[in-house]
């Protein structure tokens, strides 16, 4: 269906009002990356194409690296995250659109209104290639439109269109309408916000492909603050690659390995959790077991395993598996959930297909199946046993465009506050908040989406709610830097707690953990990295050691590297001896670099993101991780009994080993010179001692 007459007139009028500037012609030697980004000035409805020199790609790759380079330069110090000076970017990956696998991730980036730090949200689906097909590696928005608009990029160029008719619509309705409006010749890539972003909820995300969410860091609120409802991309350009045949040859092995069938039944997954919990030692797991689980059941295959193992926090991180027994979690077994599935869902370039669609009860709508985080947020964390409630809440949050991790963490905190008398019936409007009360949980989520009553207080996350209710830090929600933690317990793997606090985007579970070092098998390709023994004492990882922290630092660098490529971290569970990231990058670009050189790029990106925070006035030492998540005080029962993370010591060692000052977390002068970043901090000597 094409545009209606009013839209066509509107488009004509607006296109005349636009000025379209092309700075330099495209350089034709770009391979893998396009070499160009689009800037959209929402204040004045102006477009500018900026050519990015190849040197920037050599130093930062694309994706997260390109975003760090541009946001660091363009967001002024102390910028209001919800003000026009913030920059919202959508970036693709360097390997996206090449004949590689797992290379379909895109990222939304901006200064986060939730944490005040570097903000990022990583998502799959198909939008990553849609950006590149328009002839850009990224699209960046500055300013704020005086009225709601959406961006459409077609082969003829970009245009801002009126979005008054879309404002107020949920994400699914918006995307459906925009696909009909712009999909006459080919399916467009669409991202949009829902009512949560429009109402500037600080835990709002950005939706793509009818409910895949770039959820974290509250970037939906940034989009809402710019009056930007959606981005619709209908480009058709193919992606240049230096050596396509070499890339295809490299893809054969990982494609074959993802077909691995894991010989485990649904019932055995709960047993696997017990098996992992009981011994005094932990194994050096081969990540291919996890990819097998993901292929068979998706992330929800690990629901009961995580609960039984001690990975999934229960009852707002205060309970244990005994508060949510196997009988209570029987509705979220892999078998029970897969019985509701319609089809498997593969993101772009993914041979694994860990997503799925399910049909909701009592309607004809197809939903994305709730993932592990959403499922645990609204079951174990709040002691709800009803899986249909999870499906319903998942759909509501997806439609509203709200982060289910932060929403779940905030709901759990609210229930605890109510139980402790810190939140009264007067605050909740008479809504009694009890553990496991599905109706109350549903009502609370609805109120948060609508920003009504108590929901208005909670819609900005647990940190803001605790501040407004004058609840002391010790009883505030479980978060790092104000971002609610995902549901992987740092009292089982202290790496989750460490990375949640030291990463420039705090509170992210995908940034790092000790287990990732084992799963990614980094020692197989990078020199001087130790191969972990087959079994190690579980308690040893809680003792800060130079070796463990060195592994954590390596994971941080590596994470920045693969986020610049647009790679899905589930793919890297295969191990980097089986997933040829370095070789793919060489083949795509025509470069020839060592793994160590690529890791140094990751180090550069990580350090530039840290400089971003410092430039924004965030002192790294002020980023706090909730005590409860660190085991202060330790739990006196359950799988993680007695475990405590020595976070201050670990953080100190991490900062020291990554080349940042161990007391302040500011990158040292030597590190800046080593990474070629000294020019970025010109004039900072007096202010920061850099």
């Amino acid at each position: 269906m094409g545009c209606g007459v009013p839209q066509a007139i509107d488009r004509l009028l607006m296109s005349r009002a636009l000025q379209y500037t092309k700075l330099i012609r495209k350089q034709d030697n770009m391979s893998g990356f396009i070499g160009k980004v689009l800037w959209v000035d929402l204040d004045n409805h102006l477009f500018t194409e900026e050519m990015i020199p190849e040197k920037i790609y050599q130093d930062y790759l694309s994706g997260m690296g390109l975003a760090a380079h541009l946001l660091y330069e363009h967001i002024p110090p102390g910028a209001d995250p919800l003000g026009p000076e913030n920059v919202l970017g959508f970036v693709s990956g360097l390997l996206t659109g090449t004949p590689s696998l797992f290379s379909g991730r895109w990222m939304a980036v901006a200064k986060s209104p939730l944490t005040g730090t570097w903000g990022e949200a990583n998502c799959g689906g198909y939008f990553s290639l849609a950006i590149k097909k328009c002839g850009y590696d990224g699209i960046f928005f500055t300013g704020s439109s005086p009225k709601p608009v959406y961006l459409s990029v077609e082969p003829g160029g970009p245009i801002l269109l009126d979005a008054e008719d879309l404002w107020g619509s949920d994400t699914l309705t918006t995307e459906k309408l925009l696909r009909e409006r712009h999909g006459s010749q080919r399916q467009p890539g669409v991202v949009c916000i829902g009512p949560a972003g429009e109402r500037r909820s600080l835990i709002a995300g950005i939706s793509h492909d009818f409910g895949r969410m770039a959820a974290r860091s509250g970037l939906g609120a940034v989009m809402g603050s710019k009056n930007l409802k959606a981005v619709v991309l209908t480009g058709a350009k193919p992606i240049p690659v230096a050596d396509s045949q070499a890339m295809k040859a490299l893809s054969r092995k990982p494609a074959k390995l993802t077909r691995f069938q894991i010989p485990l039944s649904s019932r055995m997954m709960a047993f696997a959790g017990k098996f992992l919990r009981n011994p005094w030692f932990k194994f050096r797991w081969d990540g291919i077991l996890f990819t097998g689980v993901l292929r068979k059941w998706g992330t929800v295959g690990l629901n009961q395993t995580s609960i039984e193992w001690g990975d999934a926090p229960i009852k707002n991180w205060a309970g244990t598996r005994k508060n949510f027994s196997l009988d209570q979690s029987k509705q979220i077994t892999p078998q029970a959930i897969s019985a509701l599935e319609q089809n498997k869902y593969h993101c772009l370039a993914c041979p694994l297909g860990c997503g799925a669609t399910i049909r909701g009860e009592g309607d004809n709508q197809t939903h994305h199946r709730p993932e592990y985080e959403t499922t645990l947020a609204f079951t174990g964390l709040v002691l709800n046993q009803d899986y249909q409630l999870v499906v319903e809440i998942n759909d509501m949050l997806n439609r509203a465009g709200m982060d289910s991790i932060s929403a779940g963490g905030t709901v759990a905190a609210a229930i605890e506050w109510y139980q402790d008398g810190l939140l009264t019936d007067a605050d909740t409007g008479g809504l009694a908040l009890n553990w496991g009360d599905g109706e109350a949980i549903l009502a609370l989520v609805k109120a948060m989406i609508a920003r009504e009553g108590i929901g208005d207080l909670l819609a900005d996350g647990s940190k803001r709610a605790a501040q407004r209710l004058k609840i002391e830090d010790r009883k505030a929600g479980i978060a790092a830097g104000g971002s609610e933690l995902a549901f992987h317990d740092s009292r089982l793997d202290p790496g989750f707690g460490l990375h949640a606090g030291v990463e420039p985007a705090p509170g992210r579970h995908t940034s790092g953990a000790f287990i990732y070092y084992t799963l990614f098998r980094l020692w197989t390709r990078l020199k001087d990295l130790p191969k972990p023994p087959l079994i190690t004492n579980k308690k040893r990882q809680f003792l800060p050691s130079a070796e463990t922290i060195h592994q954590a630092v390596t994971i941080s660098k590596f994470t920045n590297f693969y986020n610049a490529l647009g790679i899905c971290f589930f793919g890297i569970y295969l191990g980097i001896d089986r997933l040829p990231l370095f070789e793919w990058t060489d083949a795509a670009t025509g470069w020839s670099r060592t793994p160590e050189e690529y890791l140094q790029i990751g180090h550069r990106i990580q350090t530039l993101r840290q400089l971003f925070n410092i430039k924004q006035g965030v002192a790294p030492k002020d980023i706090k991780v909730s005590w409860r998540a660190l085991g202060i005080p330790p739990q006196n029962s359950g799988p993680n009994q007695g475990n405590q993370v020595d976070y201050p010591a670990m953080r100190r060692m991490y900062w020291d080993q990554i080349g940042w000052d161990p007391e302040s977390g500011y990158p040292t002068h030597e590190t800046l010179i080593e990474l070629g970043l000294e020019g970025r901090v010109a004039g900072w000597e007096e202010k920061y001692g850099l």
């Binding site: 659109g97 849609a130 003829g156 295809k248």
Partner: protein, 141 residues
């Protein structure tokens, strides 16, 4: 880089409609132009031009091919990993996912859903990371 139209063009407009990005413009009976910003180098203009008036990005003369002889993507589902790169890169959305229940556990596999819309650009075969797509002539009969 982009395709170019030479002075051989008679302005017959055979290339205008099939171009998937509306990159070609010009008055009837006059030499047409290709907008390099819009051109995606799919080669459709060259395949339909009756006057040998289209040069490829490398400056070679594009050859006309009868539409019935255009190559079509043939997809080997055994090799396919359902990654949908082919579907996403297709400039005319002629490929679509077909879901097969049973042994494949509800995974979608690409099929040539709209063979008449296919412009034989070969982008799908170029991007397929597991070489599950080959461009082949239509079977006779």
């Amino acid at each position: 880089m982009a395709y170019k139209i030479t002075e051989n063009c008679r302005g017959c407009q055979a290339c205008v409609r099939p171009c998937p990005t509306q990159a070609i413009s010009g008055e009837r009976h006059e030499v047409h132009q290709i907008d390099p910003q819009r051109c995606i180098e799919c080669g459709t203009c060259g395949r339909v031009c009756p006057y040998e008036a289209v040069l490829t990005s490398q400056g070679r003369l594009a050859q006309r091919v009868k539409k019935m002889d255009w190559l079509k993507p043939v997809i080997d589902q055994k090799s396919c990993v359902s990654c949908a790169l082919c579907i996403t890169i297709c400039p005319v959305s002629c490929l679509a996912l077909e879901y097969i229940q049973g042994n494949s556990a509800g995974r979608g596999y690409p099929v040539l859903a709209q063979p008449n819309a296919c412009i034989a650009c070969g982008f799908c075969a170029d991007i397929c990371p597991v070489e599950a797509i080959s461009m082949q002539p239509k079977k006779k009969g």
